[in-house]
Amino acid sequence: MSSNLNQLLPVLGLIVGSLITIFIAVLEVFILVFIWDGTWNKKNHRGINLEKLISESSGDASLARFQLMIFTFVISMSLVLIITSGQPPNFPSIPDQILGLLGISSSSYVLGKALQTQIKPPPPDSSAAPPPDPTNPDP
C-alpha cells in the first residue's frame, strides 16, 4: 500500500504541476492580449488600458512612477536570468542594496505625492449655506 502511494505521489505532483503551469501560461497570454487590445483599441473600452500607467491624476506623467517601473523591470529580469542560469535553478538571496534602491524610489514617490496633495484646493463645504440668489427677492 505504502509503496504504491510512493509511486503515485510523483505522478500526482507531475499532473498537478502541469495543470498549474498550463493555467498560468494561459493567464499570461490573456494578460498580454488584453494589454494590447485595451491600449491599442481604446474605443473598445475593454481589455487592460495602460495609457495612464505612469500618469498622475492630473494627467501628467509621473517621474517617480516611471523610475519605479524601470527599476522593477530591470531587477525582475535580472532575477529571472540569475535563477535560470544556475544548474540546477535556484532562487538567490536578494541583496540589501537592491531593497534599498527600491525603497528610495518608492519613498520618494510617496513623499512627492504627499507634497502634491498640499497644493490641491480644499473641497467645497457642502454644509455651508448657498449664496443668496439675486434674482429671487424672497429670502
Binding site: 507531475l14 494578460i31 500607467l53 505612469i54 492630473s58 517621474l63 535560470t84 542560469s85 538571496s93 512627492g112
Partner: protein, 122 residues
Amino acid sequence: MDILANLGCLSKFIQFEIWLFLVGLMSSVFFLLLKKKINLSGLLFSSTGDRVYTPERLQVLLLTLILVVVYLVQVRQNLVICNAGGKCALPNIRTEYLFILGGSHFIYLWSKLTSVIKTRRS
C-alpha cells in the same frame, strides 16, 4: 526515471514560460511608450502650479538610466561567473550609488517642496 525526465521538462517549460511573459510584458510596455500610446507628456515639467521645465527632474531621469546601465553590466559579469560554474547571485549595488540616488531624490523633493510653498503663499 520517466517521471524525473518529465519533471525536468516541466521545469524547463516553466522557465521558458516566465521568460517569455516577462519579455513580452517589457517589450509591450516599451513599444507602447515609443508609439506614445502610454502617456509620457509632462515627464520633465513641474506639476505644481506653473508647468515649467525643471532640471531636477532631468537629473533624476539621467541618474536612473545611468544606474540601470551600471546594474545591467554587473548582472552580465555575474552571469559570466555563473555560467563558468561559480556562484549565481544578484549583483551588489555599491553603497555610494545608493547615496547618490538618495541625494538626487533629495534635490528633486526639495525643489518640489519649495514649489509647493511658493504656490501656497501666492
